[in-house]
């Protein structure tokens, strides 16, 4: 009997049933689809971060440094926790003098080459190769190579053209397949030539051999990483060296952060999906109060009522969940298919296939069926408490004036306060949790804000639809159900908050990266030695070279780096000598502790500025005095500040004044030079003189800093824009939530619409009413979204700041995008319900119950 009635209800109101089931489908789809996407994206992100840093989680090499059989890969690839692996064969090839230019009068721009044989399929899973023209290597390529832009410039070759390389079999000609742009890890002078593994093996006579295996782990958990490392060590045996990315390194930290952020996205999807289902179902059941009262009046017990709703909810929940799972999988796989190529092209991220875990499947099913039944049950239980008489009043569409639950408001405020406390704590995990608290808090507080906010926005819409009296109605329709409006707006809010927060994050990151890059490499000219960072192997120039440069007409400042190696507490330290006066003018450090005053300390005493890696390696902290090993015994230095530039973030580095470096280490060789012109100087003339001077010092490659930076920033921006577009996709579910609320609003008010048409509203006016309502709803959601997003963005930026210090940039682009997306979604969501409302036949609407 109950089942029969439930069935009749479902089939009797087809549109409504379809809409509620659709809500379940969408809710499940979002949760499932998103969470299928996330692991693939995370993997891609990890590869990208590691690639940018030039590091991987684990590197396996032979203890002797010699090549070993390629089969070793099979022994490590299957280890649990290893998510990606790539074998390679690296070989340094020293070129004979004048190999490329054939001119002994001109200094060779390329004197050595690192030939790297890679597996074109495996390599991009470990690190990302940003091909900037041409294509990446493909399996089966013969005589094809990927080279860097600077090498292509030096050789004057383009994709499709070929160049020569000396090998054990004589000179081999390789065709350029693709070109990698300038990158910190591929700095000029340090030329890498990528070829396929078989090609490299053939060129070096090492058939079937490799000398490096790069591995990435799927976890950032320290204990788990250690056990994976041990498993790898066990698998390869003692004749191999297993190098691991050190714990606490900033690269690991940023991967960790990304993991947390993506997990949060997963939670948000869950939240949004649950919301959509809850809101829709709640509305439908609330609308049936009248029927429920009637059933109670004719003798149905409360339990019967609850059972009725339960059966209905279960039916819809199960059907919706099954459909949602199917569609969600299709969505996930489809997006990966679709986004994959574009991501590879623009963001240089290789995405894998969809990943479905049993846990995800279970969560999704529980959510789909559970939330549906629950969201039906709560109002049903409420309704079953209503006396039959009360429920039998003439069915006036339910209105809720003011928000009912003061408790909800208070709880919301408490959650928001907790979120605020979380940022103060500066604990990464707490900050992320706080973000979630904030969202829930806002959702709870939102109903109280619906009325004031919508009355403000309806003024704006009145301007748009002047003289129609429609805006007023739309406002009324929203404020009559503040909870429902707030919940719907909340879905929009979450979506848009993501955009704004993402925008803030990206703007800040971009701003900071630009800043650091500008600081470290922003001089007009940079004189780059063969290997950056590994200063010990570079031959520099005597101070005279810099002096000559200073003497050139139009040159304002010349700053140089000098190098000495030393030890602190037995740890090798790369010591860089700077001129405390000119260095900050031309280049500069990003300070994490202390500030620019440290330069003065460097000039006045034995003081150091050290980088984060130094602190970690030596276990010292700011203000400590440490003993530096010098040729004449130990010297004590004070740590005056902590900071780094982009060239030396990874290596344990300390900066001293060049005067101290000379006094204690006897070194005054310039290994890296940066030069700024005077503003308004005759740059072509100056450049000509500088080039002429540099010709005498072939160890330096002269590059114009601005061009270099532009190149680098262009790439970074492209990557971030891609990320941003992805965030906009994540806002899509809010569109569905809005559509549902509007469509249900239309169904619920069918009779009212009939009445409006009877007293003379045209179809256009009805349709505008719905659009106005949608715009109001969208405006609400956008307003909430901007608020939440600004906050979240700030939280994320400062949270990230503990790892990667950056300045907060106000996300103007993010906010504009959010507003645009909000409005577009509003209009889009309105299209179907507005047409539906406008098409209603007056008489049918009037007869509708």
């Amino acid at each position: 009997m109950i089942i029969q009635m439930a069935f009749r209800y479902l089939t009797g109101r087809k549109l409504r049933t379809v809409l509620t089931t659709l809500a379940v489908v969408f809710g499940v789809l979002i949760v499932f689809g998103m969470n299928i996407l996330i692991p693939s994206l995370l993997q891609a992100f990890q590869a990208n971060v590691l690639a940018a840093s030039g590091l991987v989680d684990i590197t396996v090499t032979s203890v002797t440094g010699e090549a070993f059989p390629a089969e070793l890969v099979n022994q490590v690839s299957g280890i649990d926790g290893i998510s990606a692996w790539a074998p390679s064969l690296d070989r340094e090839i020293n070129l004979p003098a004048d190999f490329y230019d054939g001119n002994s009068a001109v200094a060779d721009r390329i004197s050595a080459i690192a030939l790297v044989g890679i597996d074109p399929q495996a390599a991009p899973t470990v690190r990302v190769y940003h091909i900037h023209s041409g294509r990446f290597l493909e399996a089966g390529d013969t005589s094809a190579a990927v080279i860097s832009q600077s090498m292509a410039d030096a050789l004057g070759v383009q994709p499709g053209q070929s160049f020569a390389l000396p090998t054990i079999n004589g000179v081999v000609h390789l065709q350029v397949a693709g070109i990698l742009p300038l990158q910190p890890r591929l700095l000029p002078g340090n030329e890498e030539v990528l070829v396929t593994l078989p090609q490299a093996q053939q060129m070096t006579g090492l058939q079937g051999k490799i000398n490096i295996i790069d591995l990435n782990m799927s976890t950032t958990d320290e204990a788990r990483r250690r056990s994976i490392q041990q498993a790898v060590e066990g698998a390869v045996g003692p004749q191999y060296h297993v190098g691991v990315l050190p714990a606490g390194s900033d690269v690991l930290a940023s991967v960790k952060l990304a993991q947390a952020a993506f997990t949060m996205l997963g939670f948000l999807a869950l939240f949004m999906g649950g919301f959509i289902i809850f809101n829709t179902f709640r509305t439908i059941v609330a609308e049936r109060r009248h029927d429920i009262g009637m059933l109670r009046a004719v003798g149905a017990s409360r339990r019967t009522i609850v059972a009725l709703i339960l059966v209905e909810g279960l039916l819809q929940g199960v059907i919706g969940t099954v459909l949602g799972l199917l569609l969600g999988y299709l969505l996930g796989a489809g997006v990966l298919q679709l986004v994959g190529p574009t991501m590879t092209q623009f963001v240089h991220v290789q995405v894998g296939g969809p990943l479905v875990s049993p846990g995800l499947l279970l969560t999704t099913i529980l959510l789909g069926v559970g939330v549906t039944v629950l969201s039906g049950l709560i109002p049903a239980v409420q309704a079953s408490r209503v006396t039959p008489l009360e429920a039998l009043r003439p069915p006036v569409a339910e209105i809720e004036y003011g928000w009912k639950s003061r408790a909800g408001f208070i709880a919301g405020m408490v959650l928001i306060a907790l979120a605020l406390l979380a940022i103060i704590s500066q604990q990464l995990s707490l900050v992320l949790l706080g973000g979630l608290c904030l969202l829930v808090g806002l959702v709870l507080v939102a109903p109280a804000l619906v009325w004031p906010l919508s009355s403000i926005f309806s003024r704006l819409i009145t301007l748009l639809y002047a003289r129609d009296g429609v805006a007023q109605l739309a406002e009324g329709n929203l404020t009559r159900q503040p909870t429902r409006s707030a919940i719907t707006a909340s879905a929009t809010m979450i979506g848009l908050a993501l955009i704004v927060a993402g925008g803030a994050m990206i703007a800040s990151l971009l701003g900071t990266v630009t800043d650091i890059t500008r600081k470290s490499l922003g001089s007009d000219y940079v004189f780059v030695p063969p290997s950056i960072g590994l200063w010990a192997s570079d031959i520099g120039s005597a101070p005279e070279f810099a002096d000559h440069l200073r003497a050139v007409e139009g040159v304002a400042d010349v700053s140089t780096l000098r190098f000495a190696s030393t030890q602190v507490k037995g740890q090798p330290i790369s010591l860089l000598g700077i001129d405390p006066v000119t260095f900050p003018r031309v280049s500069g450090l990003q300070f994490q502790q202390g500030d620019e005053f440290a330069y003065r300390a460097l000039a006045q005493e034995r003081a150091l500025i050290v980088n984060g890696a130094f602190l970690a390696a030596t276990g010292s902290k700011m203000g400590d005095t440490v003993a530096l090993a010098t040729p004449d015994g130990a010297r004590t230095y004070r740590i005056a500040a902590v900071g780094a530039d982009i060239l030396n973030v990874k290596v344990t580095t300390a900066y001293v004044s060049q005067a101290n470096l000379k006094a204690d280490f006897g070194k005054q060789e310039d290994v890296f030079i940066q030069l700024n012109l005077r503003p308004g100087a005759d740059s072509p003339a100056a450049e000509q003189k500088i080039r002429a001077l540099t010709a005498g010092y072939p160890q330096f490659k002269l590059i114009a800093g601005r061009t270099y930076i532009q190149d680098l920033l262009q790439q970074t921006t492209a990557a971030f824009v891609g990320l941003f577009i992805m965030l906009i996709f994540l806002a899509l579910p809010s569109l569905i939530a809005m559509l549902n609320t509007l469509a249900i609003g239309v169904i619920e008010r069918t009779r009212e619409i009939g009445m409006l048409r009877a007293v003379g509203a045209t179809r256009r006016q009805i349709s505008r009413l719905v659009v106005a309502e949608a715009l109001l709803l969208a405006a609400l959601g956008t307003a909430f979204g901007l608020l939440a997003g600004l906050y979240l963005g700030y939280v994320m930026v400062s949270g990230l700041g503990t790892i990667f210090p950056m300045a907060y940039s106000f996300p103007v682009a993010g906010m504009l995008a959010a507003i645009a997306v909000g409005l577009i979604f509003g209009v889009l969501a309105a299209i179907i319900p507005a047409r539906q409302a406008a098409r209603l036949e007056v008489v049918q609407a009037l007869r509708y119950e």
């Binding site: 569409a397 003289r467 009296g469 009445m755 003379g760």
Partner: protein
């Protein structure tokens, strides 16, 4: 010339075996300022007739002429404008928009027609005062009694100065006293304010307020009776008349 005229008005719902003839060749005429009641058993087609006259629905056959204008010649937009300017409606339920105040509800036909809000409010206020609700202008429907709600609906029906007011069981939801008040008010609409009123009702007592009663049965007109003020029992009912 009569204000409302129907010629062989026929409405058939559905097709084939399940077809229902709701109205069968109805010919009625309503003069200006006349108060007509339509009575008949449930399902006889009263509402259908009212909807057809009001241009809310289209007949299967026959025609409706209002103020010399044949409705079949009008498109949806034209019908909507006709309703806005020439016809006022009062229904049994859902007469008012719950989110609007009494004035806003009463002003609706004007605001929908593009009359500036201020002016629309002034005119709506006048009508609300005339129906005796001058003190409840800012109340929302849920703060008004059933009778008061119907009075707001009558004010709304009159605010655009229409020639015709159509009411479908306006007292169906009210107690005796409120019903009398509403019926008396409709009487006033015809007598004092000179609008034609067509009212559907089940209640003979309420129908007796009209000038004329049309009886429908199974979609056909079966009887018509003209009430005269001289009728003894009716006089007793409207002391004001």
């Amino acid at each position: 010339m009569s204000l409302v005229q129907t010629q062989n008005l026929t409405k058939i719902y559905g097709k084939g075996e399940t077809a229902v003839t709701a109205l069968n060749r109805i010919n009625v005429q309503v003069a200006a300022a006349e108060f007509v009641a339509i009575m008949g058993p449930s399902g006889c087609g009263k509402s259908t007739l009212l909807y057809l006259i009001g241009g809310l629905d289209r007949p299967t056959d026959g025609r409706v002429i209002i103020d010399g204008q044949a409705l079949e010649g009008l498109a949806d937009q034209g019908l909507t404008e006709l309703r806005r300017r020439k016809i006022g409606f009062v229904f049994q339920f859902f007469n008012l928009i719950p989110v609007l105040t009494a004035v806003e509800n009463a002003a609706l036909p004007l605001t929908l027609d593009g009359v500036p809000i201020k002016e629309a409010r002034i005119r709506a206020t006048e009508w609300l005062q005339r129906v005796g609700l001058g003190d409840r202008l800012r109340s929302r429907p849920d703060q008004l009694s059933g009778g008061q709600q119907q009075r707001v609906a009558i004010a709304r029906a009159l605010v655009a100065e229409p020639a015709l007011v159509l009411a479908d069981e306006p007292t169906g939801n009210l107690d005796t006293r409120a019903s009398d008040e509403v019926a008396g008010l409709l009487r006033q609409v015809a007598n004092t304010w000179g609008r034609a009123v067509v009212m559907v009702t089940h209640d003979p007592r309420i129908a007796a307020y009209a000038d004329r009663i049309i009886f429908l049965k199974d979609g056909t007109m079966v009887d018509e009776s003209r009430l005269t003020p001289a009728t003894a029992e009716t006089t007793a009912m409207w002391p004001g008349r």
